[in-house]
């Protein structure tokens, strides 16, 4: 019994130590990436706008179709469940209130972050991990090119720029999906749905979602690149890092969302 408790204690200590080290690494990466964004020009190693733009296209524009489609589907599902539930009270016409707030505060940023974590978090880990394995990171270092400045800063800036924009688009797509379903089910006009949405929606509801998406962007970029840099053991290591990156990104996104929501609802 004592031995089992001791083992459990060791396991917990190891886990906690690992988590502290990992979060410390995220912090160090963030600090260095921000340093290069601010001071790179002065040190004649600027973070190139072209690299940021390229990342924005990859992370943002390429994700538009899938984010739109999934958000639209979430909007339809919320409308189905909302109308079904509110019908019990004869209040189905008020479905727009619940959908507007739920989408702008929760579902828009959340579904966008999950999709981007699946695409970008894994892609960053795989790309940097492969570069690590094939000595491309070493090649950057010996060429005098700082890998954080060259790889992390553009990805971080691009994710921070595109995730709020994608989240807003996801909000609109979900509202559109809900409006179309409500039109079919209740006969409410799409324009009327939109007008009611604008009436219900307060600036802070929208800002709450957008603020969350900024935090999610930080999580996705830092978890993705840190898993990439920690790759060892060849192709198998790259695969492990990619999977780990997606799992950690989505877990951190859901947990930070819960904490964020709790604080904002106080």
């Amino acid at each position: 019994m004592a031995r089992a408790a001791s083992r459990l204690g060791e396991w917990v200590r190891g886990r906690v130590g690992g988590a502290v080290r990992e979060w410390g690494y995220y912090g160090a990466l963030l600090a260095e990436a921000v340093y290069w964004l601010l001071a790179g020009g002065r040190r004649r190693q600027p973070v190139r706008a072209a690299a940021v733009f390229e990342q924005m296209m990859e992370i943002g524009v390429a994700a538009v179709p899938i984010v739109f489609l999934l958000s639209f589907a979430i909007g339809v599902m919320l409308a189905i469940q909302g109308i079904h539930t509110l019908r019990t009270f004869g209040a189905e016409s008020e479905v727009v209130v619940g959908i507007t707030l739920a989408v702008s505060r929760e579902f828009g940023p959340l579904i966008t972050a999950v999709v981007v974590a699946g695409r970008t978090g894994s892609a960053l880990a795989a790309r940097i991990g492969s570069m690590q394995v094939s000595q491309e990171i070493d090649a950057l270092v010996v060429m005098g090119i700082n890998p954080v400045r060259y790889l992390v800063s553009p990805a971080l800036l691009a994710t921070l720029a595109v995730l709020p924009a994608l989240s807003f688009m996801a909000d609109v797509a979900a509202w559109l999906g809900a409006a179309i379903y409500t039109r079919i089910e209740l006969g409410t006009g799409i324009v009327a749905f939109g007008a009611r949405t604008l009436e219900v929606l307060a600036t802070e509801d929208l800002m709450q979602g957008l603020a969350k998406s900024v935090v999610f962007a930080l999580v996705i970029a830092l978890v993705g690149v840190s898993n990439g840099f920690s790759v060892s053991g060849g192709a198998e290591g790259v695969g492990r890092a990619t999977t780990r990156s997606v799992v950690y990104c989505i877990s951190y996104i859901v947990l930070t969302d819960m904490v964020f929501t709790w604080f904002l609802s106080q």
Binding site: R43, Q45, R127, S130, M131, S134, Q135, E136, D138, A139, V141, V142, M143, G144, I145, Y150
Partner: protein, 281 residues
């Protein structure tokens, strides 16, 4: 001729006169975790020479190369490259030093998302203010030096092993470095392509007056291009000197390496099985 853990002191190449030391390593000790990799290694490389670091697998030659490039931090000892003390250098000093170094990695380490031209242009793009057309011309010139003219627009995945190594070499020399490092240049190449690469290394030394350090375990290639050699074994310098001095070294492990003799005796299977049975019984 030096042996057993002392710093090599090779003669200067005839053309160099009194050549300066471009690499000076003193008493270098490195560890991976608790495992000691290099034990009190010393090395001196003079300007204009081709120095080969030789040794079998696990001898520590790749670790030595990583230390010289500032990629691994030694436990103790000093490394001076082109006058810069790596242990005490600031990041700005390391940055300045690295502009004078070129490295050709074992697998090429070309960036797979870029074309050959973009790979070669990358150091120019990052370290100079040259306009696009000048950078393209310079990249093309370097690619022609390594006989890769006309392949600028291919992706690394479309190149053969020898072409990857030559493209990596073009990228390594695009900034006209003073010191060029090669990690296992003939590895994975057929003998003809490996010999072509050896010729290219000699041409670079002669035409561009570079100092070149090559890490390899390929004897034929090493003796074809070396001015001086350092032989490592289990993290220690066994021998260092000119090609003839190393060939004549009486140290048995050096002779084993040069004559491809296994240093451990072949396993006596019957005796081994008898011992296992006895231990089990």
């Amino acid at each position: 001729m030096t042996s057993k853990g002392t710093a090599g002191s090779p003669p200067a190449p005839e053309s160099a006169g009194v050549a300066e030391n471009v690499i000076e390593v003193r008493d270098l000790v490195t560890y991976y975790g608790d495992r000691r990799i290099l034990e009190h290694v010393g090395l001196t490389v003079r300007a204009g020479e081709i120095r080969i670091i030789m040794g079998g697998s696990g001898s520590g030659k790749s670790t030595l190369l990583r230390c010289l490039l500032g990629l691994n931090r030694p436990r103790s000892g000093s490394i001076r490259v082109l006058g810069t003390n790596l242990a005490g250098a600031t990041s700005a000093e390391l940055q300045a030093l690295r502009r004078h170094l070129g490295v050709s990695f074992q697998g090429g380490a070309l960036f797979t998302s870029m074309t050959v031209r973009e790979n070669v242009m990358l150091p120019l793009r990052e370290h100079t203010d040259l306009d696009e057309s000048t950078m393209r011309i310079m990249a093309r010139m370097k690619l022609e030096v390594v006989n890769l003219g006309g392949f600028e627009d291919l992706m690394p995945a479309e190149l053969s092993g020898g072409m990857v190594k030559r493209a990596a070499l073009a990228r390594a020399i695009v900034m006209d470095p003073k010191l060029l490092f090669f990690d296992e240049p003939p590895a994975g190449l057929d003998p003809v392509v490996a010999a072509e690469l050896d010729q290219l290394i000699l041409q670079l030394r002669d035409a561009m007056r570079m100092t070149i350090l090559v890490v390899t375990h390929e004897l034929e290639s090493a003796f074809a291009i070396a001015d001086t050699l350092t032989v490592l074994d289990h993290g220690r310098v066994l021998a260092a000197g000119t090609v003839d001095e190393v060939r004549d070294c009486p140290e048995p492990r050096v002779q084993n390496l040069l004559n491809r003799r296994p240093s451990v005796e072949a396993l006596d299977v019957d005796a081994y099985l008898r011992r296992l049975t006895a231990e089990d019984g």
